[in-house]
């Protein structure tokens, strides 16, 4: 009953259980943080709206994105993944979401930023529905913890639109 094997087994079981409990509590503490992020996106320029050679519409634009996500960081936060997606409806699709730009924010200092950038990922439609299209720009964020439950939310900014003709 007191052999090396038993003692090693008991020690291992106890330490794994204790660690799991600590991780769960760390994750639970995230519930008590007060979060109020803010963001604003402007479209600086629609660079091109064209029809690709094999049929789909593609648009390239330059965005001015400013956000303050500092309040999302707690002691249990490993990083925040933020991205901007364009959301719109077409006759065939009830929802299209296209991610235009994303960033990995490793700590609180980098969480307040302003950046002017063209879209990192190509904005291509399924079809040619983009002329004159109205769309929302949504800033999403995913908080990745050091251990435990992940949290995600977003700010929807409606009211953007694309030109009526190819350019």
């Amino acid at each position: 009953m007191h052999s090396f094997g038993y003692r090693a087994n008991a020690l291992l079981t106890f330490s794994v259980t204790a660690l799991a409990f600590i991780c769960a509590i760390a994750s639970f503490s995230d519930k008590f943080s007060n979060q109020n992020p803010s963001a604003e996106i402007q479209i600086l320029n629609i660079n091109r709206l064209k029809k690709q050679s094999y049929g789909n519409d593609e648009v390239s634009l330059t965005l001015d994105i400013s956000a303050d996500l500092q309040s999302l960081f707690t002691w249990n936060t490993k990083q925040v993944f933020a991205f901007v997606a364009a959301e719109y409806e077409t006759s065939k699709n009830s929802l299209n979401q296209v991610s235009l730009w994303d960033v990995i924010i490793p700590d609180k200092e980098h969480a307040k930023f302003r950046i002017q950038t063209s879209n990192k990922y190509r904005f291509i439609d399924q079809g040619h529905n983009l002329r004159g299209r109205e769309f929302n720009l949504t800033l999403h964020w995913h908080v990745m913890p050091k251990t435990g439950k992940m949290l995600a939310d977003k700010i929807i900014m409606p009211g953007y639109s694309l030109p009526d003709a190819y350019k």
Binding site: M1, F81, S94, N96, Q97, S99, I104, P145
Partner: protein, 180 residues
């Protein structure tokens, strides 16, 4: 050396009834582990409620060796979600983020494009030949939580199977040689 002598002695002195009791106990332990696993599958709604991260394509969020807890609900798939999917004809599940969603009005079916955070390009190269989008049936679950480093045990046991046999052998020996 005395420990090995003790083990050999206790194996020699084993009685049949004691052996059977221990075999039943071992069977009970294995089946309760199986019951817990199946119950988790029911609760989370997915075939694999826990997966181990195998590649570095989602760094720095998920490193190789982390484990992810998955859930699958009927909620629609939206951009930003971290999903685990399997390509037809391949065994290994892949954990990446959804970057594009197109949902059909009439049928509610979705076309999904994914990309690993640490990759420069989207996953089109990973999909099967001619496949441009993922569909709901490819997706096994969404990642909802994670624990770091714990998955290394599984990676080591898969990549060096000898360690798996050693561990099982040692546990079996421990059970057999227990005096109660």
């Amino acid at each position: 050396m005395g420990w090995i002598g003790e083990t050999v002695d206790s194996i020699k002195s084993i009685k049949i009834r004691q052996l059977l009791t221990q075999a039943v106990t071992l069977g009970m332990i294995v089946t309760s582990a199986l019951i817990i696993w199946k119950a988790m599958m029911c609760v989370t709604g997915t075939e694999s409620p826990v997966v181990v991260v195998l590649s570095g394509s989602m760094e720095p969020a998920f490193q190789r060796g982390d484990i992810l807890f998955l859930r699958m609900t009927k909620d629609p798939i939206r951009t930003g979600e971290i999903v685990v999917f399997k390509i037809d004809g391949r065994d290994i599940p892949i954990v990446h983020r959804v970057i594009e969603v197109h949902e059909r009005k009439t049928t509610g079916k979705v076309d999904v494009l994914t990309k690993g955070d640490n990759n420069d390009v989207d996953d089109i190269g990973l999909y099967a030949d001619g496949q441009m989008w993922l569909h709901r049936h490819h997706i096994m679950g969404r990642a909802v939580g994670f624990l770091p480093y714990v998955g290394w045990v599984t990676i080591i046991m898969t990549e060096k199977p000898i360690i798996k046999y050693l561990l099982i052998g040692a546990m079996g020996l421990l059970v057999i040689t227990s005096k109660d």
